[in-house]
């Protein structure tokens, strides 16, 4: 029999699923996206989290948080732009993204969110230059204009930051890859939490302990959102949770969880230690990287094995229409 009827998965954690396929080949196609895209999921979230840290620091008189947040936001934004353009099949046509604004395309919406955020975050970062400029002449005018402009830019960037951090979850979910699509209720919370935790990580690394209190609380809130969301993704999707628990994705997500826990613990215990705080911040950043690559790998794994496409769809179809069609009758 060449139409393979096989049992899927070597580490089976849900009841084994009988299914048929065409020589075990995938049905949906895995993305052609390279490592740039999960890397962007991290840098985009980092830019958003940092911009929020910066605006909080600015509003509450914590200049170290403001400066670190603004610079990290613009740096992460530059990295994001590099990753996104580099991943294109035709990088020189990157500006074709700006031909249309399409609400049905999360990538199109994301392009405009990123464009707006980038402008605002750039202005905010420019505000940090004021202190280095001479007091007189044209540059002196700039040194007086830049701080208030930077404040406005920072507020605008922070306004767009939550959209920047969460649209990427919609982007992944709005595909036919089973484990991404079915995770659409949870992924935005995972990504929001991961972005907050990574932004907080910047604060813990860059700010003296006297100013880092809000970063510690942001790290806790982010970790809570991220861990709760990831737990649901790993347990509530039935067969489609399996790719999040097994293989490369499972290892990455477990690593991310351990690093998040370590980062939060360090942030709480290290209130008086600059070194421990910075290490905690680094752990949170690494956790965010691992989580993003893990989520990405899980979706790809769910495309590679036709089991994840066939079994849930058969269950849906056979549950909806009464009599299942007879298998392979005589011709």
């Amino acid at each position: 029999m060449t139409t393979v009827s096989r049992r899927g998965g070597d580490r089976v954690m849900v009841p084994e699923a009988e299914f048929r396929s065409y020589y075990g080949r995938p049905i949906v196609r895995e993305p052609t996206w390279k490592h740039d895209i999960p890397a962007y999921l991290f840098t985009g979230g980092l830019a958003a989290g940092s911009a929020l840290l910066a605006v909080g620091g600015d509003a509450t008189g914590r200049p170290a948080l403001r400066r670190a947040g603004r610079l990290a936001a613009v740096g992460a934004l530059g990295a994001s732009a590099y990753f996104l353009v580099n991943d294109l099949g035709r990088p020189q046509r990157f500006h074709h993204m700006l031909r249309v604004a399409k609400p049905t395309s999360p990538m199109s919406m994301g392009t405009w969110i990123l464009t707006g955020f980038g402008t605002a975050a750039g202005v905010a970062a420019a505000g940090e230059l004021a202190g280095y400029l001479p007091r007189r002449g044209v540059l002196g005018v700039a040194s007086r204009v830049l701080p208030p402009a930077g404040r406005l830019g920072g507020i605008a960037a922070a306004g767009l930051a939550p959209a920047l951090a969460t649209y990427t979850a919609v982007l992944l979910a709005d595909t036919a890859l089973p484990s991404w699509h079915e995770a659409y209720p949870q992924l935005p919370f995972v990504f929001a939490g991961s972005a907050l935790a990574s932004g907080a990580g910047i604060g813990l690394i860059a700010a003296p302990t006297a100013q880092a209190g809000p970063a510690r609380r942001m790290a806790m809130a982010g970790a809570l959102l991220e861990l709760a969301g990831a737990h649901r993704v790993e347990t509530r999707l039935g067969l489609l949770s399996e790719p999040y628990r097994t293989g490369r994705a499972g290892r990455l997500l477990r690593t991310g969880r351990a690093l998040t826990a370590a980062g939060v613990a360090g942030a709480l215990l290290g209130r008086r230690s600059r070194v421990l705080s910075a290490l905690s911040g680094a752990a949170l950043l690494a956790a965010s990287v691992a989580t993003r690559f893990g989520i990405f790998a899980a979706g790809v794994a769910s495309a590679r094995d036709p089991k994840y496409t066939v079994v849930p769809q058969r269950a849906r179809r056979d549950g909806a229409t009464a009599p299942p069609l007879q298998p392979c009758a005589d011709m």
């Binding site: 029999m1 060449t2 139409t3 048929r20 065409y22 020589y23 080949r25 949906v28 196609r29 993305p31 052609t32 996206w33 929020l52 840290l53 909080g56 509450t60 294109l88 099949g89 035709r90 046509r93 074709h96 031909r99 249309v100 399409k102 609400p103 049905t104 395309s105 990538m107 199109s108 392009t111 939550p162 959209a163 951090a165 969460t166 979850a169 919609v170 979910a173 709005d174 595909t175 036919a176 890859l177 699509h181 659409y184 935005p188 919370f189 990504f191 929001a192 907050l196 209190g213 809000p214 959102l225 036709p306 058969r314 069609l325 007879q326 298998p327 392979c328 009758a329 005589d330 011709m331």
Partner: protein, 275 residues
């Protein structure tokens, strides 16, 4: 955008804004009379000037093409099935193609507008616009559209947009020697297919069933649909495809909630502590 543009029965060309659009055109691929000659694969390659896929032996029956991809826009699947009562095998052969969905996820998610809906209701990539972002590829519920590696852009069946605009049939349908691939107005094809299934059932082929013909299915019906003799997954087709954008409003709402939670967390972090 009208209320049901993302889901349900719809005539796609008028919905896309065409005034006085011609009849929606489609393919009906009747796999019960496919002889596996691959003339469709060859005709498609020749007409559309598609590069080769490499010349590989895949060890999958007579199928050395494997699947639809950037360089294969018609793919003939070969399935050899034992028939116990006859101590023999039966052949299932089927020429797969882009489904030209009523609700096409590839088109919905394309961020550049490179993918568009033609006046015939088909879905075509504009190669001078596509920048190879790759979003359409995991969006397709059938795994059809793909990136051409040395080119970077996404490619798929155009239903020979250049031929049908001049009143010709697509190359595959023209070359098919058994009329397994039929091209015409979709309404007519759907009617013809119903008759064909009834005739097969009357002669005892009870396993004959249509796939992709129902405007109430998860993609609003396919512009290219099939008569199959076994379950769809046996041919490498998804049993119950649903256009991913059906759930997009719900996805944006969840993202909005998560974004609000994020904002609230930051406010709490900055005002909710002593230092």
């Amino acid at each position: 955008m009208s209320g049901n543009s993302l889901y349900g029965p719809l005539d796609p060309a008028p919905d896309a804004g065409y005034v006085d659009a011609p009849a929606r055109m489609g393919f009906f691929t009747d796999t019960s009379i496919c002889i596996g000659c691959k003339a469709c694969e060859v005709a498609c390659k020749e007409w559309n000037g598609i590069p080769d896929d490499g010349f590989n032996l895949l060890g999958m029956s007579y199928d050395n093409t494997g699947s639809l991809n950037a360089n294969t826009w018609r793919h003939v699947a070969f399935i050899e099935q034992p028939v116990p009562e006859k101590t023999d095998i039966r052949w299932l052969m089927s020429s797969d193609v882009c489904k030209h969905c009523t609700h096409a996820a590839c088109l919905d998610v394309c961020p550049t507008g490179a993918l568009f809906r033609t006046e015939f209701g088909t879905v075509v990539v504009q190669e001078d616009v596509c920048n190879g972002c790759g979003y359409c590829i995991p969006a397709c519920p059938y795994g059809v559209i793909d990136q051409r590696k040395d080119d970077g852009r996404a490619w798929k069946c155009t239903m020979c947009y250049d031929r049908i605009g001049s009143g010709l049939m697509p190359a595959c349908a023209t070359a098919c020697p058994t009329q397994s691939i039929q091209y015409g107005p979709l309404d007519e094809l759907r009617e013809r297919a119903e008759h064909r299934v009834d005739a097969l059932h009357a002669t005892g082929v009870s396993e004959a069933r249509l796939y992709g013909n129902d405007p109430n299915d998860g993609v609003g019906g396919d512009g290219a649909f099939f008569l199959l003799l076994d379950e769809p997954e046996v041919y490498g087709l998804p049993p119950d495809p649903v256009v991913t954008t059906r759930d997009l409003p719900k996805m944006w709402r969840k993202a909005g909630l998560a974004a609000l939670a994020m904002g609230a967390a930051v406010v709490a972090a900055f005002v909710g502590g002593t230092r």
